[in-house]
Amino acid sequence: MRIVGHQNRTEVELDPVEAYRRGRKLDAMLRAAVPKSSRGVQRGTPQMFERLDEARMLDAARKLNRR
């Protein structure tokens, strides 16, 4: 593997402020790829939320693969 450019691509960032800033950028990229959640309040078991999250991520992956 050859890393080019000057952008910091390491997954490890020990400065919490910088980690937070870079993490928010990653979040924005993720948000752009996944369908929006409908607003509101839900209650359920951890397993139920895991199933919902996995279904959303699978949906997002399929959409990305179709591009």
């Binding site: 390491t10 997954e11 490890v12 960032e13 020990l14 400065d15 919490p16 402020v17 910088e18 980690a19 937070y20 800033r21 870079r22 993490g23 928010r24 990653l26 979040d27 990229m29 993720l30 948000r31 996944v34 959640s37 409908s38 607003r39 509101g40 309040v41 839900q42 209650r43 359920g44 078991t45 951890p46 397993q47 939320f49 895991e50 999250d53």
Partner: protein, 187 residues
């Protein structure tokens, strides 16, 4: 990071209202040094009605929070409490159980940090130093993200997590060392 950052606003309001919470999941993992994307904020909460009332007040800036019922924070007979998701400008998962762990069971692994941002102090409480434990044990299976980050967190243990060995567990109960480090973070 701007003053309008919704996550920082949430944590500041948790602090103002005295919510008993522990930040876990992707947000906590990254504050411990391992970066990954996440779309929600996971907080483990003390399961009491009083904490539910505080949480609802703290989250009042999110319109969806008006549907929260503090009674949901009370354990049912048998001790079971259902987790709650508030999806709004932020997606906030209010958890009472995460991979078999609870607010009470993670206490030995929590440490606090707070950051000065010009005026108000922003504080976040975190448990991610033992995210490997949170993802590796318990009744629930590991999620993909948890399983992926575990080796990295173990590798980080000798660096970012070193303060754990210096006795800052449960630091919110101790007088705080307010000396800021180079990043403007007190710890």
């Amino acid at each position: 990071m701007t003053p309008d950052d919704p996550l920082l606003r949430l944590l500041e309001r948790f602090r103002q209202q005295g919510v008993e919470y522990v930040l876990i999941g992707g947000q906590a993992v990254r504050l411990n040094g391992y970066l990954r994307a996440t779309e929600d904020v996971d907080v483990l909460l003390e399961p009491t009605r009083a904490n539910g009332e505080r949480t609802k007040r703290a989250m009042s800036f999110l319109a969806s929070s008006r549907d929260l019922d503090p009674g949901w924070f009370e354990p049912k007979e048998g001790g079971e409490v259902e987790n709650i998701r508030v999806a709004d400008d932020l997606i906030v998962d209010l958890l009472f159980a995460a991979n078999g762990e609870t607010y009470a069971s993670v206490q030995p692994y929590v440490r606090d940090r707070h950051r000065r941002r010009g005026g108000p102090r922003i504080e976040y409480r975190r448990a991610a130093e033992n995210q490997d434990r949170l993802s590796g044990e318990g009744s629930a299976r590991q999620t993909g993200a948890d399983a992926h980050q575990e080796p990295a967190l173990i590798a980080l243990a000798g660096h970012a997590l070193q303060p754990c060995a210096q006795g800052v567990y449960k630091a919110w109960r101790r007088p705080w060392d307010d000396r800021p480090d180079s990043a403007g973070i007190s710890h």
